[in-house]
């Protein structure tokens, strides 16, 4: 993939995450802090489908943005064909693992498993 495409995704995910995290924070402000973290409140969020979708989107956006940022930092720290390949594929794998694990949590909580 061309670097410009990757960086467009990087900027896009940043903007998307800012908007969605802002909505997430606004939702949290409808309750006080301790109430918001109570087990029932957290589970209720996952049972509310639009909110669960939003959490899933935040997970994807932040994972892609964060690991691409890490990739860029690592590529600047050291150079070399093998190293760069390892960093690129390593970051893709890390995104996949994190999204899979987070999605599993969202799905299990959503379906009450």
């Amino acid at each position: 993939m061309q670097e410009s495409v990757i960086m467009k995704i990087h900027y896009g995910t940043a903007l998307g995450a800012v908007v969605l995290v802002a909505i997430h924070i606004l939702f949290r402000m409808t309750q006080n802090f301790s109430e918001s973290l109570q087990y029932e409140s957290v589970i209720a969020n996952y049972h509310f489908l639009p909110y669960a979708i939003m959490l899933e989107l935040i997970l994807i956006l932040l994972s892609v943005h964060g690991f691409n940022g890490l990739r860029v930092i690592l590529l600047e720290l050291k150079q070399g064909v093998g190293y760069e390949k390892a960093v690129n594929y390593g970051c893709i794998a890390a995104i996949a693992v994190l999204v899979a694990y987070g999605s599993r949590t969202i799905l299990m909580a959503g379906f009450g498993m």
């Binding site: 061309q2 670097e3 410009s4 990757i6 960086m7 467009k8 860029v72 590529l75 600047e76 720290l77 150079q79 760069e84």
Partner: protein
């Protein structure tokens, strides 16, 4: 008027001689073939108010230590040969007066982010090869020197688009000041990126696609952090940081 006349008449007709001061010049000495680390050698050198750093180095070379390795040529900030770190800041030695440094100690070191050949002379091989890679010339099918053709005219506005970038003398100071170049040895660098913009922004050029493809690399234009130090140190007033941002506009789609 009378007051002015009296003041002028008070001045004695004598030759004005600038007072001679002296500074301590610290030169970084390093030969990668024999030395493991750079050492500083100090010299006490007389200076006038117009003395440049290059004058002082050449004076040391002539009278005190002929082994000092320094690259220079035009002595008028046109050739870009005498770039070095002067009191920690990349600058042209011929274009920096001792008096403007406001210090009695002047430390000269080779530029950062370049392999050192010896003392103050650095290797430009990689620098020029990256510059060449970005095709720093007008690309188009026709030519203004062929028969039945006219010169490619431009309006002043079209020239303004790239003019400042054409002032680059390839001294390497921008690359030396670049924080990305300090860690990423494969980074294209502000000099070559600014030159890519110089030709991309030229309406006579048709090589935009080629150049954008070259800079759109994992060690290309996107690795610029926009620190702006390249623009700060340029002795010719070129603003590579701006050129890089404008070039990004083409890749993101803001500019056509």
């Amino acid at each position: 008027m009378a007051a002015i006349t009296s003041k002028l008449s008070d001045e004695s007709p004598s030759t004005i001689v600038s007072p001679t001061n002296s500074v301590t010049l610290r030169i970084s000495k390093f030969n990668p073939k024999t030395d493991s680390a750079a050492t500083f050698v100090e010299f006490k050198v007389p200076v006038q108010k117009w003395t440049t750093v290059l004058d002082v180095i050449l004076s040391v070379k002539q009278h005190l230590d002929p082994s000092v390795a320094v690259r220079y040529s035009c002595r008028q900030a046109s050739c870009g040969s005498c770039g070095m770190k002067i009191n920690g800041r990349p600058a042209l030695a011929c274009y920096t007066k001792i008096s403007e440094l406001n210090s009695n100690v002047v430390t000269v070191e080779p530029m950062n982010n370049f392999p050192i050949l010896r003392d103050l002379a650095v290797d430009f091989t990689q620098f020029f090869s990256t510059h060449k890679k970005l095709k720093p010339y007008i690309i188009r099918d026709d030519s203004e020197v062929a028969e039945d053709t006219k010169e490619f005219l431009q309006t002043p506005k079209e020239v303004e688009e790239y003019l400042q970038f054409s002032y680059c003398i390839k001294c390497g100071l921008c690359n030396s000041a670049c924080p990305t170049m300090a860690t990423d040895s494969s980074f294209i660098g502000p000099q070559a990126l600014a030159q890519a913009y110089r030709y991309v922004a030229d309406n006579r050029d048709a090589g935009k696609k080629d150049r954008l493809k070259i800079i759109d690399d994992s060690h290309g234009i996107w690795r610029c952090h926009f620190a702006g130090s390249c623009s700060q140190v340029c002795p010719k007033g070129v603003d590579p940081a701006m050129g890089i941002q404008l070039l990004r506009g083409y890749l993101v789609g803001f500019r056509k």
